[in-house]
Amino acid sequence: MDKSATRSVYFFLAPALSAIFIFFFIPVIAAFIISFTDFDIYALGDYSTVRFIWFTNYIELFNDPLFWTALRNTFYFVLVSAPLSIMVSLGAAILLNSKLIKFKAIFRLSYFIPVVTTLVAVAIVWRFIYHPKFGIMNYFLSWFNINPVDWLGDPVWAMPAIILMSVWKNFGYNMIIFLAGLQNISEELYEAAELEGASSWQKFKSITLPMLAPTTAFVSIITMIGFFQFFAEPYIMTQGGPLNSTLSIVQYMYHEGFKWWNMGYSASIAFVLFLIIIIGTLIQFKLQKSH
C-alpha cells in the first residue's frame, strides 16, 4: 500500500477510533484507576479526600459476603439458564425448520415477540403471573393439586422463577440464529444419510449438531456474556430479594456505584466481572477447539 492510501485509511478510521478512544478506552482506564482508590461521595465534594488504597477494594470484595452471594446467584443464573435457553432455542429452531410445520411465519414471529418487547413491561406482566394469590401460574398448578408457591417471595423459588422468565424472554433471538445455521446445512447430507438408513436421532447427532458447531459457539458465548450481566429482571421483579436470593453481580455493582456512590468499590466489582467473563469465554473457545 502506498503512502497516500495509508493516510486516507487513517483519515477515515479517525472518527471511529477517536470515538472509541474517548467513550471507551478513557472511561475504562479511569475506572481501572478508580478501582484502586476509595472514590466516594466525599471525594466528589473534595478531591483531596481521595485515598489511593491499592488492592483494599479487591481484598474487601473477597471478604464481602454480599459479593459472594451476588456471585453465586449470577453463576446459578448463568449455569442454569444459558444451557436451558440454548436447548430451548435449538429445539424451537429445529421444529420450525421441519418441513411438516405450516404457518411457519406465525410461529417464528410469536416466538420472537418476547425478544423485542421491553423487558420492563414483560417483567411487570410476569410479576402478575407469579402472584401467589391471583397469579395464573399457581392457578395452573392447582389443577395438579400442587399447593400455591410464593414464586417471587420465597428465597428458594425466586431464582427459578426469574430463570423461567428470562429463558422465555430470550430464546427467540438464539432461535433465529440457529434457524439461519440450520438453513445453511446442505440438504444433500440428510439425503445421503437417509439412503444409508440413518434414524432421525442419528441424523441429528451426526449431521445437525456438528454442522451447527460454529453457530452454537457463537450463541453460547453471546448468551453467556449477556446472562452474566443480567440486571433488569431482578431489578424490576424482586429488587434482589428475598433475602438477596436474586441479587446479581451487576445489580450489586449498580447499587454500590450509583446508589451509594462508592465508585471505587463499584469499579473493582466491574473488573472482577470482566475477568470472570474473559475466563468464561476462553474456556468456551478451548472447548470448541478440542471438539
Binding site: F11, L17, Y42, R51, D150, D154, N244
Partner: protein, 429 residues
C-alpha cells in the same frame, strides 16, 4: 505511523470538544433561574410560578422535572459536572450528602434578613433536619411523617375504642385482631421488612442514638435498639404481620379486605385510601399518632419531606431565595396542598379550613410536634436502605437471632463509616 494515527485522533478529539461546548444565553434585564423539582411536585409548582413571575417581573423561572427514582443520580451527576440548577427540591434526608459535596450553600444569612422565612414558623423537628453543624442548608417546602392508619371498626370489635397509645397496647390489640381469624390468612399489622422506616422509628422512640461517637460508629446493638428490633420482629414471628412482601401487591385493597388492620405509613397514602375505602367502609378507618415507648404519647416518628436548597454554583442566589420566600408563604403552601396533597411546612398554613377541618389531618398535625431526624450523615441512606432493611428481614424470618443480626449490622455500619471516621480524625489533627 503510530504518531500520525495519534495526530488524527487528537485532531478529531478537538473537533468533538468544539461540538460539545455549548453556547451561553444572556437576556437583558430578565434573569432566568433554573429550578429542578421532582415528579408531581414539578407539575404542581409550575402552576404557582405565573403568580411569582407577576410579582417579580425581573425573574423568569424555568422548572425542570426529574423522576423521583432518578433524581439523586441526576443531581449528583450534575454536581460532578458543574451543571447544577440555581435551586432545587431535595428530600430532607439527602441534605447531608449535598453538604458533603459542597454543592449547596448555608442559608442562615438569608434567613436572618428575611421578613417571611423564620425558624419559628416551622415544626421544630422538621427544621432540625435541615441543620448541619449549626447551619441551616434547606428551607422546608412540604413535610411528611409516618403514623398509623387504623381500621377503627375492627379495633372496636376487640374492645379498643381509641387507637393504641403504647407499645404494650399495640401488641395486645394486634393479638386480639389476629385472634378474630386464627386460621385464616389475615393479619393485624403490616410491617414490611423491605422498609426500614418502622424499625428506625421504634428504635428512635426508645431515645437511643442510632450512631455514636460523632456519628462515626453504629450503635444498633445498644439496649434501646435491640428492644425495639425484637419488639417488631416478634410481630412477624407471632404471625401478627405478614412476612413476605409479594402477597401485598395493593396495600389499599389489603386494608379494605382486613388482610391487615394497622399500617404505618405517610400522608401520600391518604388520597388512595379515600378512594379505596368506599361506601360502608368510608367511616371505618382513621389516622392516629404513633404509640409511644413507656409512658410517652405520642411516640416520635420520622421528620420527612422535601426542602428547597440553593446551589453553590448559582449566579442568581438572591433571585432563587426570592422564589423560596414566595413558596414559603402560607397562601402558596395551602395552594400547593390543594394541588397535590403535600402537607404544608408552615404551621400557619395548617389553620386553613381545608386542613383544619379534615379529620385525617388531625393526627398528622399532632404527630409533627413529635418528629425527629435520622442521623445526618451522607452515609445514612446506605445504612438504612441496604443494611437496616437487610438485617430486619433476616431477623424477621428468624434466619438469625436479633442479637446476631444487630451485631452484624453494627459491623457493616462501622465499615461504611470508615471514611467518615478518617475524615473526622483528620479534621482534628
Amino acid at each position: 505511523m503510530i504518531i500520525k494515527l495519534f495526530k488524527y485522533v487528537a485532531a478529531s478529539i478537538l473537533l468533538y470538544l468544539i461540538f460539545l461546548s455549548g453556547c451561553t444565553n444572556k437576556e437583558n434585564n430578565i434573569t432566568t433561574i433554573k429550578f429542578w423539582a421532582m415528579g408531581s411536585e414539578a407539575e404542581a409548582v409550575i402552576k404557582l410560578i405565573p403568580e411569582f413571575e407577576k410579582q417579580n417581573p425581573d425573574i423568569k423561572v424555568e422548572v425542570q422535572q426529574m423522576p423521583w427514582t432518578a433524581a439523586q443520580e441526576k443531581l449528583i451527576t450534575a454536581v460532578a459536572s458543574d451543571n447544577t440548577p440555581d435551586l432545587c427540591q431535595l428530600g430532607n434526608t439527602w441534605i447531608p450528602q449535598f453538604t458533603a459535596l459542597n454543592a449547596i450553600i448555608p442559608l442562615h444569612n438569608l434567613v436572618s434578613k428575611s421578613l417571611s422565612v423564620k425558624e419559628e414558623n416551622y415544626f421544630e423537628g422538621i427544621w432540625e433536619t435541615n441543620v448541619i453543624d449549626d447551619k441551616v442548608y434547606g428551607i422546608p417546602w412540604y413535610i411528611d411523617t409516618r403514623l398509623m392508619f387504623c381500621r377503627m371498626d375492627v379495633f372496636k370489635k376487640v374492645g379498643y375504642n381509641e387507637p393504641p397509645e403504647s407499645w404494650e397496647e399495640l401488641l395486645d390489640l394486634s393479638r386480639k385482631i389476629k385472634a378474630l381469624h386464627p386460621d385464616e390468612e389475615k393479619y393485624a399489622i403490616y410491617l414490611p421488612t423491605n422498609e426500614w422506616a418502622s424499625f428506625v422509628i421504634f428504635g428512635l422512640q426508645t431515645g437511643v442514638e442510632l450512631l455514636k461517637e460523632h456519628n462515626t460508629l453504629g450503635n444498633f446493638s445498644s439496649n434501646g435498639f435491640t428492644e425495639a428490633f425484637s419488639y417488631l420482629t416478634d410481630y412477624h414471628k407471632e404471625n401478627l404481620a405478614p412476612i413476605g412482601i409479594s402477597q401485598v401487591t395493593n396495600v389499599y385493597q389489603a386494608f379494605a379486605d382486613e388482610y391487615f388492620c394497622i399500617y404505618i405509613s405517610g400522608p401520600w397514602n391518604i388520597p388512595e385510601f379515600k378512594k379505596w375505602m368506599k361506601g360502608s367502609l368510608s367511616d371505618s378507618w382513621m389516622t392516629a399518632p404513633l404509640p409511644g415507648y413507656k409512658n410517652e404519647y405520642p411516640g416520635v416518628s420520622l421528620a420527612g419531606g422535601s426542602s428547597l436548597v440553593v446551589f453553590n454554583n448559582s449566579e442568581y442566589k438572591e433571585e432563587a431565595w426570592r422564589l423560596i420566600e414566595f413558596l414559603s408563604q402560607p397562601s402558596s403552601q395551602v395552594e400547593f396542598y390543594k394541588l397535590l396533597n403535600d402537607l404544608p411546612a408552615i404551621k400557619e398554613a395548617w389553620k386553613d379550613p381545608i386542613l383544619k377541618d379534615d379529620p385525617y389531618m388531625k393526627a398528622f398535625y399532632e404527630q409533627f410536634f413529635h418528629v425527629v431526624a435520622t442521623p445526618k450523615v451522607p452515609e445514612w441512606e446506605q445504612i438504612a436502605f441496604s443494611k437496616v432493611q437487610q438485617y430486619a428481614e433476616l431477623a424477621a424470618r428468624d434466619v438469625m437471632s436479633v442479637e446476631e443480626a444487630l451485631r452484624k449490622l453494627d459491623h457493616d455500619v462501622d465499615k461504611i463509616l470508615e471514611k467518615r471516621r478518617w475524615l473526622v480524625s483528620h479534621k482534628n489533627e
